[in-house]
Amino acid sequence: MSMELIVALIASAALFGTGIYGALSQTNLVMIMMGIELILAAALVNLVAFWRYLHPDAIEGQMFVLIVMTVMAVEMAVGFGVAIARFRSRGSVEMEEAQELKG
């Protein structure tokens, strides 16, 4: 068992837990997006660690990292689009005031 891999995975698990806490506990849309960013960052750490310590010969592992980075950028772009639309129509991005979105 590689100590380096375990350390990276524990850091990733802590980032994931922090992101889950942030995404669930915050009432502001932008803060919720910050929580999701931390969750995706945890996935990035996992992917790089798995590539580095398990399969360094398979460069496709780094492709996954680039795809997750793309997902982070798309999440930011769409999230801010929603935030601007919400702010212009309702004057707030507080999710406590978005009860009408409840299914």
């Binding site: 837990g17 806490y21 932008v30 780094q62 930011m76």
Partner: protein, 184 residues
């Protein structure tokens, strides 16, 4: 204990600590900066794991992204400086338990999974970039192009959603009586 383990643990701790600070501070600008430091520490972890290209990419991309996020935070928050010490949290107990269970589950997996033997050596930085370049413009070109197209689509969709004419008027007419947005 190798030097790599020490640096990985140090940057991992920094990333987690700044990640926690994001949700502890009342100032939105501090939150955005804390997330920037957290993401930078993650980029440093990539550098320690000898993936130079991804590490530098992570740091540069996140520096830009978090700067934009800080601007949006100041624009949209009712108290961006955090001087009013507003409480912006709900369902604290559930969130805390969900976070702890996620951390515990992922840590358990890290310890109890059988990861198999470690490879002897990895390609050096220049070789990694060369291989990744061939991968991006060879076998994985469709995935790479799809990712680029997805970002372009998201940019256009987000801009269209934000500037759609008549949205404000429509929203105001559909509002129930007595419910008025504040600040718009």
């Amino acid at each position: 204990m190798s030097v790599q383990v020490i640096f990985l643990a140090a940057f991992g701790l920094a990333a987690v600590w700044f990640g926690i600070v994001v949700f502890r501070t009342h100032s939105m600008v501090r939150s955005a900066l804390a997330l920037l430091f957290s993401q930078t520490a993650i980029g440093a972890m990539f550098l320690v794991m000898e993936t130079e290209f991804l590490g530098v990419l992570q740091i540069m991309m996140m520096a830009t992204e978090m700067s934009i996020m800080a601007i949006f935070m100041v624009m949209f928050m009712m108290d961006p400086g955090g001087l009013g010490a507003m409480d912006m949290k709900h369902q604290r107990r559930l969130s805390l338990w969900a976070g702890l269970v996620a951390f515990g589950g992922a840590t358990g997996l890290a310890f109890f999974a059988n990861w198999g033997p470690l490879p002897a050596e990895i390609p050096d930085a220049a070789e990694q970039v060369r291989l990744l370049g061939f991968e991006l413009l060879g076998r994985s070109m469709l995935i790479f192009e799809s990712a680029g197209l997805t970002i372009l689509t998201a940019m256009i969709a987000a801009t269209a959603m934000a500037v759609l004419p008549g949205r404000k008027a429509e929203a105001q007419t559909s509002e129930p009586p007595g419910h008025e947005g504040h600040g718009a």
